[in-house]
Amino acid sequence: MKRLPTTWRDLARHPLFWPGVTLVLLCLVNVYFNRSFFAIEIKSGHLYGSVIDILNRAAPLMLVAMGMTLVIATRGIDISVGATVAISGAVVASLIGGSLIIQNGVQTYVSNVPMPLAIIAALAVALLCGLWNGLLVAGAGMQPIIATLILMVAGRGIAQLITEGQIVTVYYEPFFIIGNGFLLGIPVSLYIVALVLAIMLLLIHRTALGLFIESVGINPVAARFSGISARALVFWVYAFCALTAGIAALIITSNVKSADGNNAGLLLELDAILAVTLGGTSLAGGRFSIMGSLLGSLIIQTLTYAIYSLGVPPEINMVVKALVVFGVCLIQSEALRAMLGKHLFRTGEAA
């Protein structure tokens, strides 16, 4: 380590260094098997290509991972985000639905309820889910994993109730813009991610939110004794996390033009937690990185893309994914790096 110039050492210490390296490596793998991986074309005014595709598909995960980051930073966890997506998706799909009518001799689709209202309702329901979680964790003092397990289990049932056990299809075209549309050539979903990111970064760096969340995550007692209302903070963090799940639900529902209470957002909580960890935020709480979680989400999506484009048989693609994730986590483990460092140092000394 000593022989490396300091700038390199500082770079390697940067929290985003390892997630960044991982993402670059994954991209290289992709390029190796698919020379046109980075190629971007313009088709009918939209950017089009693998990278754009990955970004677009990663949007819901990025949103949820951003919310999850804050929860994890307070030493918590929210395993109900997938269920929240199902509920919100069911709400928005049932409210919009849509039917074909003929107006002045032109065929148009109309929504059951005005679209803005439906979207607000879906987000409100997601927020409600978060308030419930927050109440259990911050109010009743339950263990976060148990508290959110309740909604995780019950949530899909609730979604089924809303959709009356059916898969609700949406026919109202303007709604498809959210998940499939383009603006100035770039997918609309990415604007949504950028907006949420901007708001979060603003809150974290221009208010004391980041400081308070980290203090509560590192030492809740000391934070409380310093006059921070740790409970209120934790409560709102869960609410916010569910809200990001609600936004993700809009994109997902719009993208597949339907709401499926059983499968919408399935295992999304696990991917989100994984993205946060890959991004370098410790599950033990404390220091966190929103950018890291975005990188983590992209790593997961790029990996999925690579697995599919390599033609790995579907039976084993989960195994491959697990192995890669295992490797990445290993590289990022402080303990392992310290061990390697010590070992190299000692042998170096002996030589």
């Binding site: 004391a208 308070f212 980290e214 590192i218 030492n219 409380r224 004794f225 310093s226 006059g227 010590k342």
Partner: protein
């Protein structure tokens, strides 16, 4: 007669990013001695110990145990070689029972499973030897810091070791407990054990140590027989300049601060079921009120009630004449009350955050989440207090957890001074702080007090309470038994009062 040293550390160097914690440090231990390792906060005492026990790897230097070069890679390895340590920050498992903590890692086994009965009996016996009689099956966290410290000591005493290291083991113990610890140490010494003892209490050093090694800024300054080094010389060697303890020691309360005539905080019949019996207490701006009492007398409980941590079941609190409810620290902070807790590691520092962030934390909490202090203002405040309190650090962006114990304590004091409080509760504020810094901090507290701060001062060192307090409220068994004015008070007086209540 020449006795071979049992342990020699030589030429030890260790640097952390930005600091040379140890520069060519050395230490020699002989069998059957108690060796005091002395030095100011940040001198490198704990780091030297950590190098010895394999927690930190030295950059250079050698360690010889019985003539053999050793380089322990972890605590377990050091323990197998016969080197046991009690670290400065208690590192036991708060959720496990006291008995489990004492025996963890070396449970006596039966044919099937662990022999819990024996463990509890032995643990109780070990503690009884230190005159601690508690229920060893309860979790460690349910006991105060002092008891936890005794448990950590009991754990170390039961291991078979050639070298026993105690890094500030007595910082929250009262005199009786210290004496019992010393008895135990003398017995171990007779058996030929070499004991390293780190403390900032000079009285304790002279009471127990045979020889003294002094470190300053990570450097070895000298090794002296305790009998030939005078107290004043010891202080001067540690600090590296002349310090006159006596000039500070005088009770300066005589030079009257302008004491407000109405109390800032006034408690009437304040109490909680299972905690404090109802008590009355008035705290005036410009006055230091000391809380006198033994361990478990309710000093910390009193503080917690006044800071809204524990909820009072009875009584009223008036702040500046207005009746208020203090249901959370947040509210107390809003009324200008500040509280430096005694358990620095668990209730004070936010270890991974920088010194700057730790210092402005309470101020920011008071301003609220949306009135964020700009980074530049934060740095200015942090720099100001680092300078003013003499916090030894390379810069303000270092995680506070990397500071030496005493410097962490100063940073916590800075956290509260930065909020410009009207009343400051100090629970063991000088715990783990070196003699020079202790005097400086007490001066600072006095100066703040003269500027109109009300101070509630808690310390297990009665002499310190007497020295700084204008008025002492005496507690016993979670009950306030009376008050003594500062100029009438001496240790005899206070202890007589405590004993009198017993009759």
């Amino acid at each position: 007669m020449t006795v071979e040293p049992i342990l020699v550390m030589q030429g030890i160097c260790k640097s952390f990013p930005g600091v040379n914690a140890l520069k060519n440090a050395q230490l020699r231990l002989f069998p059957g001695e108690v060796h005091a390792l002395m030095g100011q906060n940040g001198a490198g005492k704990s780091t030297l110990i950590k190098v010895l026990t394999g927690v930190e790897t030295p950059d250079a230097g050698e360690i010889r145990l019985n003539g053999q070069a050793i380089s322990p890679a972890c605590v377990g390895e050091a323990q197998k070689m016969g080197i046991t340590a009690v670290y400065q920050e208690i590192n036991l498992c708060p959720n496990l029972s006291v008995a489990e903590n004492i025996f963890i890692g070396r449970f006596p086994m039966r044919a099937i499973g662990i022999d819990w009965k024996t463990i509890e009996h032995q643990a109780a016996a070990e503690l009884a030897a230190l005159n601690i009689h508690i229920d060893v099956s309860l979790p460690l966290a349910s006991y105060p810091v002092a008891i936890q410290q005794m448990v950590a000591i009991a754990r170390a005493l039961t291991t078979e070791a050639q070298v026993l290291i105690l890094d500030e083991p007595t910082s929250s113990l009262d005199e009786g407990e210290v004496e019992r610890l010393f008895q135990a140490l003398r017995q171990l010494k007779q058996k030929g054990m070499a004991i390293v003892f780190i403390t900032h209490f000079l009285d304790q050093t002279y009471a127990i140590a045979d020889r003294i090694t002094v470190l300053r800024n990570g450097e070895f300054i000298g090794e002296y027989p305790a009998s030939t080094l005078s107290r004043l010389d010891l202080i001067n060697t540690m600090v590296g300049r002349e310090i006159n303890e006596a000039s500070y020691a005088a009770n300066s309360s005589a030079q009257a601060a302008s004491v407000a005539d109405k109390p800032y905080v006034s408690a009437r019949g304040l109490g909680s079921t299972g905690g404090m019996h109802p008590f009355d207490l008035d705290l005036y701006r410009g006055q230091v009120t000391g809380l006198g009492g033994l361990l478990g007398s309710g000093r910390t409980e009193t503080a917690r009630l006044l800071f809204g941590i524990d909820r009072a079941d009875s009584g009223t609190i008036r702040v500046d004449g207005h009746a208020v409810k203090l249901n959370s620290p947040r509210q107390a902070v809003r009324y200008g009350i500040a509280f430096c807790p005694e358990d620095r590691k668990n209730e004070g520092i936010v270890a991974d955050l920088s010194i700057r962030e730790n210092i402005i934390l309470a101020l920011q909490a008071r301003r609220g989440i949306f009135h964020y202090l700009p980074k530049r203002a934060q740095s200015a405040i942090a720099e100001q207090y680092i300078e003013q309190l003499g916090i030894r650090t390379s810069d303000a962006e270092k995680p506070i957890g990397q500071l030496s114990g005493g410097n962490q304590q100063k940073a916590l004091l800075a956290r509260w001074l930065a909020t410009d409080p009207k009343m400051l509760i100090l629970d063991e504020p000088t715990r783990g702080i070196d003699i020079a810094a202790k005097l400086e901090i007490m001066e600072l507290v006095k100066a703040q007090c003269k500027k109109g701060l009300a101070i509630l001062f808690i310390s297990s060192e009665m002499s310190e309470v007497l020295r700084v307090s204008d008025r002492i409220a005496v507690l016993r068994d979670r009950q306030k038994i009376g008050e003594i004015a500062g100029h009438d008070a001496d240790e005899q007086n206070v202890f007589r009062m405590i004993a009198g209540a017993e009759a």
